[in-house]
């Protein structure tokens, strides 16, 4: 008896999703299969064997039901003293089949759980691991929502595919083939008729599916429009109230809401119709076979017997369900493969390259010479192994940064920084000013090699930064961004992010330096307060203080600061400013400045405009020059 499944339960969105276009569905499918088999080859073999066993048991069961009447019950009725032992034997052997089938079904599902969850876990880990290795450019050029959807929607679609789609497809396929073989053995012409009816069913499914997917696309569009409107209005609900705009707001909502209702109604209606169509076409096929087969059998054409017809009819019935399932699963598989394509696309993205070989090592000074050491001396050196002869040089880490005629563009053909020359000696403070889009942030992206320059050279302590291992280069630089990002975890953990092996005392020391200690003590659990949602429970100023503390604990010789422009109140502002000043003290600092005091106290101010340095000098010099800086300072220009 073929496994009959309950009517398909409507999935999310009701109707079937339209089939996305895929370039190489076959190749993609094989790629996925290879990925699964890589870790779960044996599991998969077990599953396949189990599926064959289940189907075999199920077909045996169907066969038995036919022979039950003809071979056992009818002979029994003709006996004078019916002897049931033969039937008992037959039932016992069938019971064994059934038991084997049930056990196989259990083993199959259970092993599939391991395969599914294991594969998903591997895939998640691989995606994440790979994502972490991607260059900043990837994150700047791909919407974050899209990246997220790989982890949620795409993985979810894949879960359906692996746990249900593939096993069911195999199960249905084996069942269909098995049943077809038995049918062929019974009667070729009737099998042909059955197959014809199957084709009609598939055609009808496709038609209804097509109609449904047309409306489904419309529905998706209307959902997007309505959701967009809802988001916008909920975001602006207070403004709506202030402007007493409720009526207007409602009338547009009604329109969008009604439109969605219409398309959703159609999409769901046609989606719902596929089931009844399939079922009744199956019944029609049954009647057709009964009539034609009956005519054949009663006229004794080709030795076709009445018993054979009864069997054939049962097979006919058990064929319908798996075929429907296959057509449905195929649709789901294509959908899941679209997700799969996005997953593999992410995995195929080129990771950040790093050809650097200069490393950062702890050092100490011995007779004026620098030697490598494992002690915590507080002194660091660049270890430069020359590729030509293998000789090793040590250069003390000081924080001397030079830009030499640097050109840069986010893509090759659009240069945004032109001929930038810069130098900062250890401990100097360099401020960048200029209007939005002048290239201030861009310059700071280059020092730590978030992006690589097109032309020119950047030297760190005299070494071309391309030769320095990225990891070590970044360890030697501290960064405080304008948008503070905190991680889910305690305050302690968030500060320790700058130096993972820092002791609690070191963390508190860094917090004190950053002026963060006071407010942390006022938090409900002090340093153990758990922050969630990017520190949503903290004020903007407090989050800045934490990010300053995080940079402070790393204690780097060079700092990149992006001052916040957002309006925090003057008192907090002063605390933040004071923390920043303490952090900058004694370090080479590149600061994108917004505060007057920062700019004034800089050793050198670089005025940028459209990717070029147009003025440089200290505050007094630039004011005297009456140039762009003077304009910005006096607020004379917009």
């Amino acid at each position: 008896m073929a496994q009959e499944n309950p009517k398909p339960i409507q999935g999310r969105g009701g109707a079937r999703a339209p089939r996305p276009k895929l370039n190489h569905p076959g190749r993609l499918f094989l790629k996925l299969l290879r990925y699964i088999l890589k870790n779960y080859a044996i599991h998969c073999i077990v599953v396949v064997v189990c599926i064959f066993l289940t189907v075999f048991a199920s077909i045996q069961g169907t066969k038995f039901i036919q022979t039950l009447i003809d071979d056992y019950i009818l002979p029994l009725t003709k006996q004078q003293n019916p002897d049931f032992t033969e039937l008992a034997h037959a039932l016992f052997s069938v019971a064994v089949y059934y038991a084997a089938g049930a056990v196989a079904a259990y083993v199959n599902t259970r092993v599939m759980v391991t395969v599914t969850q294991g594969t998903l876990q591997n895939l998640r880990d691989d995606i994440f691991t790979h994502m972490e290795s991607l260059p900043i450019k990837y994150f700047d050029t791909h919407p974050h929502g899209d990246i997220m959807s790989t982890y949620t929607n795409d993985i979810d679609a894949l879960r359906q595919l692996i746990s249900q789609g593939l096993p069911q497809l195999l199960n249905s396929g084996v069942t269909v083939i098995g049943v077809l073989i038995f049918m062929f053995l019974l009667s070729v012409p009737l099998t042909v008729i059955t197959l014809l009816m199957v084709c009609v069913t598939l055609y009808a499914t496709k038609k209804a599916g097509g109609l449904s997917s047309k409306y489904f696309i419309a529905q998706q569009k209307d959902i997007a429009a309505l959701n967009g409107y809802i988001e916008e209005m909920m975001e602006g609900q207070k403004v709506v109230k202030v402007f007493t705009h409720e009526e207007e707001c409602l009338s547009q909502f009604y329109e969008l809401n009604d439109r969605l209702f219409e398309s959703a109604d159609c999409a769901n209606r046609y989606g719902n119709m596929i089931g009844p169509f399939n079922a009744q076409l199956g019944n029609l096929s049954y009647v057709l076979i009964a009539a034609i087969g009956g005519a054949l059998a009663l006229n004794g054409v080709g030795g076709f017997t009445v018993g054979a017809l009864a069997s054939f009819l049962t097979y006919n019935k058990s064929l319908n369900q798996p075929i429907n399932q296959m057509s449905q699963q195929l649709n789901n598989i294509v959908m899941a493969l679209a997700g799969c394509e996005r997953i593999f696309a992410l995995l195929d993205e080129k990771p950040e390259t790093d050809d650097g070989y200069v490393t950062l090592v702890r050092a100490r000074s011995e007779n004026g010479k620098i030697v490598e050491t494992t002690e915590r001396t507080g002194m660091w050196a660049w270890k430069h192994t020359h590729q030509a002869d293998g000789s090793v040089d040590y250069v003390e880490l000081k924080g001397d940064v030079v830009f030499d005629d640097v050109d840069f563009g986010y893509n090759e053909n659009k240069i945004v920084l032109h001929n930038v020359d810069l130098y900062a000696t250890p401990g100097q403070k360099i401020a960048f000013v200029g209007s939005t889009g002048a290239g201030k942030t861009t310059i700071t992206n280059l020092i730590n090699r978030f992006y690589d320059i097109q032309d020119g050279k950047i030297r760190y302590d005299g070494i071309n930064i391309n030769k320095i291992k990225k990891e070590d280069l970044r360890h030697s630089l501290g960064i405080v961004l304008q948008d503070t990002h905190l991680f889910t975890g305690t305050v302690m953990e968030n500060i320790r992010y700058g130096k993972l092996d820092a002791t609690d005392e070191e963390v508190i020391k860094a917090a004190r330096l950053a002026n963060a200690d006071t407010f942390i003590h006022q938090l409900p659990d002090g340093y153990q307060t758990v922050l969630t949602g990017d520190g949503a429970n903290l004020s903007q100023g407090q989050r800045q203080l934490l990010s300053i503390a995080r940079a402070a604990i790393a204690d780097p010789p060079v700092l990149i600061l992006d001052e916040a422009t957002s309006s925090i109140d003057t008192r907090t502002e002063k605390i933040v400013q004071d923390g920043m000043d303490k952090l900058m003290n004694g370090r080479t600092t590149f600061v994108i400045a917004h505060r007057l005091s920062t700019v004034k106290n800089s050793d050198c101010i670089i005025v940028l405009e459209q990717g070029r340095i147009i003025e440089r000098g200290n505050h007094d010099e630039l004011i005297a020059a009456h140039g762009k800086y003077y304009q910005l300072y006096t607020g004379a220009a917009d």
């Binding site: 876990q121 409720e246 119709m273 089931g275 009964a290 422009t565 309006s567 008192r571």
Partner: protein, 582 residues
């Protein structure tokens, strides 16, 4: 909860009733069809009666057509009822949200409201369709098949009844215990996604501190935990299928054995035995469907609860019975005002505030974060109601005015302001929907927004993206001010509305106000002393209490807080502004 939700079925009551009716009719057909199939075999094939096969076949085709018709009707009405229900839910929620006061809005977050209006409604739509189409169908199918079995042979049907009871109990057990693990696993899954989100948006921090390995390790642990949880839950569910098989196979064997004896004893025909075997599958299958429906419904219960919260929320502000439609002038009086956002909290946000502001005055408000500046001004346009004392506008209590009238006369530029997708004109006309182009341009000139708007290629027809993402912060603020000006208010409140505008433009806007709308009372909240020092009087707020209310000069000499702020800003702590493009 059911009552609240049920009220939203409205015009789809007939469709909601028709669906289960058609589904039941379809089920009846589907129970009759196996009988016909049996008859085809028994009386047709076995008896060698071809004409009976044709006649029965004809009936069966007829039954199939009817079944198809009922099925399609069920599909149609089910879709209509459920999507219509969803539409009404969205409509009712949205309408109710429009009546919400600020404190109602504060109670639900924006994201919370959006989820309720979108995902939660979709969940309920699915569940409703499921209930209409399956909830009646499955049990009726089960009962019909059971009844037919009893009709054929009560003795054999007893076997089914026993199987149903045992299987039902086991399925319930499996569902409940797996559900327990799933409810534990799903929040973990959300956490994992949140951590990915965090990593994506903070990738610069991760890379700057070279924390890739650390993050990978953290992720792997979380990912492994989730895999473990889901494996546990799904392993329990893995019992479903084999249980089902064991139940049906046992039934088949038991029925074959007993049935054979009955056939031999002439109390059962072979055809009847075949029908019984068909019903066996029907009965057990529908039991399975029922258990799935149960899971679906429990899952959507959370959504239903969240939706009801919005539907049942009553606005905390109501229009008075005989409202006043006329605001005499722009004078404001705070009379012993005490205010709390949450009436349960001990410490008030504003404590015994007394202020008298004359019509046409320009008033500055200054104070640190959390000193309740925004709270103070939000009482003037009755965005919130006071707990004690009263606020008078134009000489009358704000609670005596018609809300719309009051808010049209008291124009607030909120600190967290929003522009909407649409042209600049469309955005401006939020202030006055009949404003002509000249009026719009004039308002923009006052707000110093004209200069940059005219530089846009499409000028005032420039399309603003959702949330105003295609204009800078300073430009957005100036557009919001222009929009508020178009209301021609008697009182204009700027809540830190020029923070991203450079100092020079800020001064120009204030000058325009003084010259062009002298009769309007202007209240300006600011961080910068320069924004308020030319005001007629300045309110210094500290921790919900008015610390000073006087002119710049007097405050400078007499008010410590004011002096401190002033000194910190003039001694090099000020802005190095970049032309309003902050």
């Amino acid at each position: 909860m059911l009552k609240t939700l049920g009220a939203q079925i409205r015009e789809f009551k007939s469709a909601s009733l028709a669906t289960p009716v058609f589904m039941i009719l379809e089920v009846l057909m589907e129970t009759i069809i196996p009988l016909m199939m049996a008859s085809i075999i028994d009386d047709g094939v076995d008896a060698g009666n071809l004409s009976h096969i044709f006649r029965m076949g004809g009936f069966m085709v007829l039954a199939a057509c009817l079944s198809l018709f009922f099925g399609l009707m069920g599909a149609k009405y089910g879709a209509k009822a459920s999507t219509g229900f969803a539409r009404n839910l969205r409509k009712a929620m949205f309408e109710n949200i429009q009546t919400f006061s600020f404190s109602n809005i504060d109670k639900f977050s924006t994201a919370g409201l959006v989820t309720r209006l979108t995902t939660d409604v979709t969940n309920l739509q699915m569940a409703y369709q499921m209930i209409l189409r399956m909830c009646f169908r499955a049990p009726i199918f089960l009962i019909c098949a059971m009844a037919m079995s009893f009709f054929i042979s009560p003795r054999l049907a007893m076997i089914y009844l026993i199987a149903v009871l045992i299987l039902g109990a086991l399925l319930a057990l499996i569902t409940v215990s797996a559900h327990k693990y799933f409810t534990q696993a799903f929040p973990k899954y959300d956490d994992l996604n949140a951590s990915v989100q965090e990593n994506v948006s903070a990738i610069r921090v991760v890379k700057a501190y070279v924390r890739e390995e650390y993050e990978k390790k953290r992720f792997r642990t979380a990912s492994e935990n989730i895999a473990r949880m889901f494996t546990k839950a799904e392993r329990i569910l893995a019992f479903n299928n084999p249980l089902m098989q064991i139940a049906s196979y046992s039934c088949i064997i038991a029925i074959s054995w007993v049935g054979a004896k009955m056939i031999v004893g002439n109390t059962l025909t072979t055809g009847q035995l075949m029908s019984l075997l068909t019903y066996c599958m029907n009965i057990l299958m529908n039991l399975m469907v029922l258990s799935m429906i149960f899971v679906m419904i429990t899952m959507s219960a959370a959504s239903a609860k969240r939706i009801c919260e919005v539907l049942d929320e009553k606005s905390s502000l109501t229009n008075p019975e005989n409202p006043d439609f006329d605001v005499a002038d722009g004078s404001i009086v705070f009379d012993h005002v005490t205010f709390r956002y949450n009436s349960a909290s001990a410490k008030p946000v504003l404590d015994n505030v007394n202020l008298t502001i004359r019509s046409g005055e320009t008033i500055g408000v200054i104070g640190g974060t959390g000193s309740s500046k925004s709270s103070l001004v939000s009482l003037i346009s009755r965005l919130y109601d006071v707990n004690e004392g009263r606020v008078l506008v134009g000489g009358k209590d704000v609670r005596s005015y018609d809300l719309d009238t009051l808010r049209n006369k008291v124009s607030v530029v909120l600190q967290k302001n929003v522009l909407f997708s649409g042209s600049i004109y469309e955005n401006l006309r939020w202030g006055d929907k009949d404003a002509d182009e000249n009026a719009c341009r004039h308002a923009c000139r006052l707000a110093c927004a004209d200069e940059f708007i005219e530089r846009f290629p499409d000028g005032y027809d420039t399309h603003i993206e959702q949330g105003g993402t295609n204009v800078s912060g300073g430009q957005k603020q100036r557009l919001c001010i222009a929009r508020a000006l178009l209301k021609k208010p008697k009182i204009l409140i700027l809540d830190d509305s020029t923070s991203a505008v450079d100092t020079a433009t800020d001064a120009k806007i204030r000058k325009a106000f003084a010259e062009e709308i002298p009769d309007t009372t202007k209240i300006i909240i600011a961080q910068r002393i320069s924004s308020v020092q030319n005001a007629d009087r300045i309110i210094v707020l500290n921790d919900g209490v008015v610390d000073g209310f006087d002119t710049h000069e007097n405050l400078l000499s007499a008010n410590a807080i004011y002096r401190e702020v002033y000194e910190s800003q003039t001694s090099g702590g000020g802005d190095f502004d970049e032309g309003g493009a902050a």
